[in-house]
């Protein structure tokens, strides 16, 4: 027991140091962490938002079917929610295009076209403007 304990302690210490230093050693050896980490995170955040919005749309329909909402109220809120969902999908699309462009830039390929052209934004932007500014009263 007396000899075993220090041996085990050294073993455990070694395992801990190995585990903790693994990412630092990987970085030093040039093994990059996944590229576009920031974009991947933004994409996932948007995906969560999008799924939540879909869930809201479904629940609203359930509310209508169980009689909590009148048809008029339902239509108005449903429209607003769908507009918000469209915004999120647009943001995801932009992110997708941007990510692709970034990847091509990294690989030395000139981009095919500029991403997120302002012209395409105007229609959904107007919808955004409308849905966000609709007085709810």
């Amino acid at each position: 027991m007396d000899v075993l304990a220090p041996l085990l302690i050294i073993l455990v210490l070694g395992a801990v140091v190995w585990l903790i230093s693994a990412p630092l050693r990987a970085k030093a050896a040039g093994r990059e962490l996944p590229a576009n980490v920031r974009d991947a995170q933004r994409r996932r955040d948007l995906e969560i938002e999008r799924d939540q919005k879909y869930a809201e749309i479904r629940e609203l329909e359930m509310d209508l079917r169980t009689g909590k909402l009148s048809e008029a109220d339902y239509r108005e809120t449903d429209r607003a929610l769908r507009a918000e969902a469209v915004d999120i999908l647009h943001a995801l699309d932009e992110l997708g295009a941007a990510t692709a462009a970034q990847r091509e830039a990294d690989e030395g390929v000139p981009p095919v076209s500029d991403v997120a052209p302002a012209a395409d934004e105007s229609a959904p932007q107007a919808a955004v403007g409308r849905s966000r500014n609709t007085p709810d009263a």
Partner: protein
């Protein structure tokens, strides 16, 4: 092995410090490899503490009395399961359990979200590791489970017999799971505020942990209440004791947060509320952990004296958490502004807001009453305490409003409801409530207790709303999918576990409050001294002391305890109801030379063996306190005669005492309770936690994808192109 354990704890302490530093460095300097390293450090922490915990448990199971904690909390005669639980019956063991649970849940949440929230995670990791540093610091420098004794005793002092009950075994792990799980949303909230990314994402990733925390803490609270009712000799389940309150407070704010987070997810509102609630809940969880082990408040649970290292350390931590939380919320108030405004008072948003207010008010009442001795001492110089009647005065009306809200909230839609719609939806439940009110008034004496009557009425309303929700939902589902009612019901619940799990929880809470109201307001209790053969009447039941009982429990060749009790025959209107055999068990003191051979049995611990006839409509509950003076007189007499006698004669004398009790019994004091509807408190709790389990259960991926697809299709139409989404 103890040296290995000590080394592991020191290593764990070092690892937590590293984790804090590397997480903060990696977060500030945007160096992901350091953040990953800090996450690995948390995994390492879990590994180290697991091994340490294992070493401690093995010591207990092997009766290794060289470990001081084993020698003082276990014995060779302790049953195996209780040996296992004895590990956390001590201060040091419970701290290790807390730290181990913290490291486990932290590792889990960090692992599950390793590719997400990369701006928030470094700070969340630092906070969680910071808690780890605190607890390992206590374990290394103040309360080590690996202290050894230079002289190994042949046997330990054993586990307090009051704790030899299954509920008491799992009560601490349940509570600690609840407390540690609440630190997870706390840490991510701090991270979100520090990183200025207060969108709803940090809420969704920690939601399951918050719900699990609420779930386990609630179970821990109910186990304590059940144990109090079934094992202690006073017949109540809640005493507004400081330590009971300490576990209730984070549960109340946690409940508020669980509701309020839904508003932030759906409408981006109440961000200040949510941040404040989750920070308060985490802080109150630490306060709860602290109160049990400090002596700052006079309580049945005040285990350790104040003024020691642990008390100072906890006070410092709580102050830091409180001040830090206030600073974070105030300094980030600009980004915590709501995206939308409250549209109408008749909306689900405002019902949730009201729900927040009621729960926080309840928490404030409990807080004020619990800490009042310290507050009054600070203000007037005298320590003063408030009793249960003061708590009830405020909690009962608030509970009534709360149950009412559980009936209104689910029915009102988001944003705005129309009065016409509301009238339609509430018509049936309101009628049910009115009928309940009238029937109770006419048929029972509920009118004598207006608050109880009010609570019954409101609970009936809430139950009717829940039933209506399930009915309407099933009908809607059947209309959409042509399924049979039970299938439609099941698939409806499966598709929206959060909502319908929530409704089940509401049903459980309403039922629980019905039980609480009935058993508190309409209870009959008597303390009565009876001779053999005598009869008394309580609550419409007749109780007869039929005969005395006495038994000796032998274990491993020694006397474990002596039981003195009685047989009570219970009848009602001449009809036999039950035979109840309450008893008192006397465990011998382990200092045999300090007391006489017989007398030592009555100088150790005594437990009440409560007996009850539990029923759907009432519990009949009896406990007994045999005449202590008679016992002392007889045992003193025996001790004198046996002072020089051999051991076998001493054991026979104990048997003789037991026989003597049966043949010449003194009068005994009985506590008799007839409590209506107590069973429904436990049933309500079980329903609540079943609902929690439903809400916690993850939806299968296929169902999620199907659901997403249909909504996506409709949204796609707005985009002007078809989208076949399959992810």
């Amino acid at each position: 092995m103890a040296t290995l354990g000590r080394a592991l704890l020191i290593l764990a302490f070092a690892v937590t410090i590293y984790a804090v530093v590397s997480a903060l460095y990696g977060g500030r300097k945007r160096k992901p490899e350091w953040v990953v390293s800090s996450r690995n450090a948390m995994y390492a922490l879990f590994g180290l503490l697991s091994i340490a915990f294992l070493i401690m448990e093995i010591a207990f199971l092997r009766d290794d009395f060289s470990f001081e904690t084993v020698a003082t909390h276990s014995s060779t005669t302790t049953p195996i399961l209780y040996k296992f639980a004895a590990a956390w019956s001590s201060q040091e063991g419970s701290l290790l359990l807390w730290a181990w649970l913290l490291s486990g849940f932290s590792s889990l949440v960090l692992f599950l979200n390793r590719r997400r929230l990369q701006e928030i995670t470094p700070y969340a990791t630092a906070v969680l590791a910071g808690f780890g540093t605190f607890f390992t610091m206590l374990l290394v420098f103040s309360n080590s489970p690996f202290e050894t004794l230079s002289i190994v005793p042949p046997d330990g002092t054993g586990l307090n017999p009051l704790l030899r009950h299954p509920a008491m075994m799992i009560h601490p792990p349940m509570l600690y799971s609840g407390y540690t799980l609440f630190t997870i949303p706390f840490a991510f909230a701090v991270g979100a505020l520090v990183a200025r990314r207060v969108d709803a994402e940090w809420i969704s990733v920690t939601r399951r942990f918050t719900l699990a925390a609420w779930f386990f803490l609630g179970i821990g609270i109910m186990l304590g209440a059940r144990w109090s009712y079934a094992e202690l000799g006073w017949g109540g389940y809640w005493a507004w004791d400081p330590v009971e309150n300490a576990s209730l407070m984070p549960w109340l704010t946690g409940t508020a947060f669980l509701h309020s987070m839904m508003i932030q997810e759906k409408r981006g509102m109440l961000k200040v509320w949510n941040s404040s609630l989750v920070l308060a809940t985490g802080t109150l969880a630490i306060v709860g952990t602290f109160l049990v082990r400090s002596g700052i408040l006079d309580s049945i649970h005040a285990f350790v004296d104040a003024g020691n290292y642990v008390a100072f350390a906890f006070t410092g931590l709580i102050c830091a958490m409180t001040l830090g939380s206030v600073y974070l919320v105030v300094s980030r108030r600009d980004i915590l502004r709501s995206e939308h405004r409250l549209d109408s008072l008749l909306s689900r948003e405002s019902m949730f807001l009201l729900n927040n207010i009621v729960l926080v008010a309840m928490c404030f009442v409990v807080f004020w009453g619990t800490f009042f001795p310290l507050i009054s001492e600070a203000i007037t110089g005298d320590k003063a305490a408030v009793g249960p009647p003061w708590f009830s005065k405020y909690i009962v009306p608030l509970a009534l409003v709360l149950i009412l809200l559980t009936g209104i909230g689910p029915v009102i839609p988001w944003r705005r409801a129309s009065w016409a719609n509301a009238r339609r939806m509430f018509a049936l439940p309101a009628v049910v409530a009115a009928i309940t009110f009238v029937v109770l008034l006419v048929v029972s004496d509920a009118g004598d207790k207006p608050w109880a009557l009010g609570l019954f009425t409101v609970a009936a309303f809430a139950l009717a709303v829940a039933a209506q929700e399930f009915w309407r939902g099933t009908r809607a589902r059947m209309a959409m999918s042509n399924e049979y009612p039970p299938v439609a019901f099941a698939s409806m619940v499966r598709r929206n576990r959060r909502r319908y799990g929530g409704y089940i929880i509401h049903i459980g809470v309403a039922v629980l409050f019905i039980g609480v109201a009935a058993s508190s307001a309409f209870q009959h209790v008597e303390d009565v001294r009876l001779d053999v053969g005598k009869t008394t009447e309580v609550g419409g039941y007749t109780f007869t002391y039929v005969k005395p009982t006495s038994t000796i429990s032998i274990r491993d060749g020694g006397v474990e305890k002596i039981n003195f009790g009685a047989r009570m025959r219970v009848s009602k209107d001449g009809h036999f109801v039950a035979n109840l055999d309450p008893a008192r068990g006397y465990y011998p003191s382990n200092a045999p030379f300090a007391f006489g051979p017989v007398g030592r049995f009555f100088e150790g611990e005594a437990t009440s063996e409560v007996r009850m006839d539990a029923g759907w409509t009432r519990d009949v509950w009896v406990s007994i306190a045999p005449d202590g003076q008679w016992i002392n007189k007889v045992s003193d007499g025996l001790d004198e005669k046996l002072a020089k006698a051999p051991v076998e004669q001493q054991l026979r004398a104990v048997g003789g005492l037991a026989a003597f009790y049966r043949s010449n019994p003194p009068a005994a004091t009985f506590r008799i309770l007839v409590s209506p509807l107590v069973m429904w408190v436990w049933i309500g709790a079980i329903i609540t936690f079943l609902g929690g389990a439903v809400a916690l259960w993850p939806a299968p991926d296929a169902a999620r994808r199907r659901a997403r697809a249909s909504a996506a299709a409709r949204v796609a139409q707005d985009l002007g192109r078809t989208k076949a989404k399959t992810t």
